[in-house]
Amino acid sequence: MSNNTTPPPLPPSGPGSPRDVPPLPGSSTIDPATLPKPIRDELEAPDPVAIDTAADALKDGLNHCPKCGATDIKQRPGTDVLICLYCRNEWHGARVEEEFGLGENIDQLEGTIIASGAQAIAADVSALMTFKCSGCGAEVTVNTENAMTARCHWCRHVLGVNEQIANGAVPDAVLPFHIKKDDAVARIRQFVGKRQFFALKAFKEQFTPDNVVGVYLPYMIVDGNVSADVAGFAEIKTREYTRGNDDNKKTYYDADVYQVARHVDFTVDDLPLESSAERGNLNTGVNTNNIINTILPFDTKNAVKWNASYLSGFTSEKRDLNVEQLRPHLEDQLLSIARAQVEESVDQYDRGVRWEQERLKVHGTRWVAMYLPVWLYSYHQPGANGGMLHYIAVNGRTGETMGSVPVQQWKLLAAAITVGTFLEGIALWMMGHSS
């Protein structure tokens, strides 16, 4: 039994795509000081701050209120605490990190260890689940595609999906929201505030950050124990000299070529991978899922054992990819990490390295399915092929904010051409004076 969801393709490559290694925060290819004032002001406005979430020690949890047995349980906003709305009792969920021993002995991992919530999805299990309400006997249906709790409309009991059935809806763990809605709205407002000048007019007119929704998105959190080898050629400059006369000077280089190979053993702890085929497709030509990808990582060490009560009041997306379908993505990222790890060891090759071959040996992996909290604001830009859905996403734990703001093309083109014409004028003036 397996599900038929096709795994997402690797994102397209090329400049300006998510295959670029993201620039360091604060780094820029153009010095903003050289740009006109309105553009400079936008670029230099402060970014929303991402906070550091410290680990809180958490204790045991239950589905019913452990004190009075009521089911009207919600997460207290901004905390990992569950609160009973009937008797006001508050309690913590158990951290999976200690409960399952995650993060321990990664260097001794062997084979593929899959937590129960990350098991293969059975194709014949429906997303719709019907419960018999134990309060009154009525039947209540929960659509696990987008919700994990429902209220019985007869007796008002809250029912949550807690049993791990093979439809991928119930993960091993959940990381509750810490950033409150007001905070998320403020961050989105600040993010868009510094991207106004060239923003699409309709986007600015319809901008209502209060419509942001809290969504629990499905991820696989992977620990890995791997070895990697890379081989290629590298060059060291031995001489630099110029040839030609005054007007036509050219610089030449001599270099030694070396054959190089490197080996590195490493472990990765809590690498997050999108386990929804739609979210994992980072093709920036047709979607803006790379925005949600950018706000990773989360402080997954603080995740608590699954309890549907945390999802009360939020929507969720169901996992539809299995471990085996995600393996190529994991190996691609592990190879990238290996290449980053060996960079320092080839520092002496000042003319760079051309890696030609790479090999990855995965000794062991551990997979845990987790719901991670994201505040999402979306804007649909009409256009060919159904247009483009632009997201602005706020990490529900750290507050890291990223977004795609649609641009007013003619305005951006006009600004670029104006600056280009100005530069060309300077160039012509310089040529006129030099001859």
Partner: protein, 85 residues
């Protein structure tokens, strides 16, 4: 016309294209993604293999400042994968 003159004439179009892409990416962030290479907790043992680096050739009089096909910082650019077995 000399190379210097042509390069000067290209200043306008190059500046316009550069500014366009720079601002487009600032608004649309198409080049952003999870920087897992530096944001994941990686525990690596010391890198080995440097002792076996071998000089195999010399290059004389090239005008290129970097090795042809330099990909030392393009971690996500996949090269030929050697598979065991």
């Amino acid at each position: 016309m000399s190379d210097g003159g042509l390069e000067l004439l290209l200043l306008g179009p190059a500046g316009a294209t550069g500014l366009y892409w720079y601002l487009y990416r600032y608004y649309r962030n198409t080049d952003k993604s999870h920087a897992f290479e530096r944001e994941t907790r990686v525990d690596a043992k010391p890198v080995t293999g440097a002792d076996n680096d071998d000089k195999v050739d010399e290059v004389k009089g090239t005008r290129e400042t970097r090795i042809d096909g330099d990909n030392v910082r393009e971690y996500r650019h996949r090269v030929t994968r050697i598979r065991d077995g």
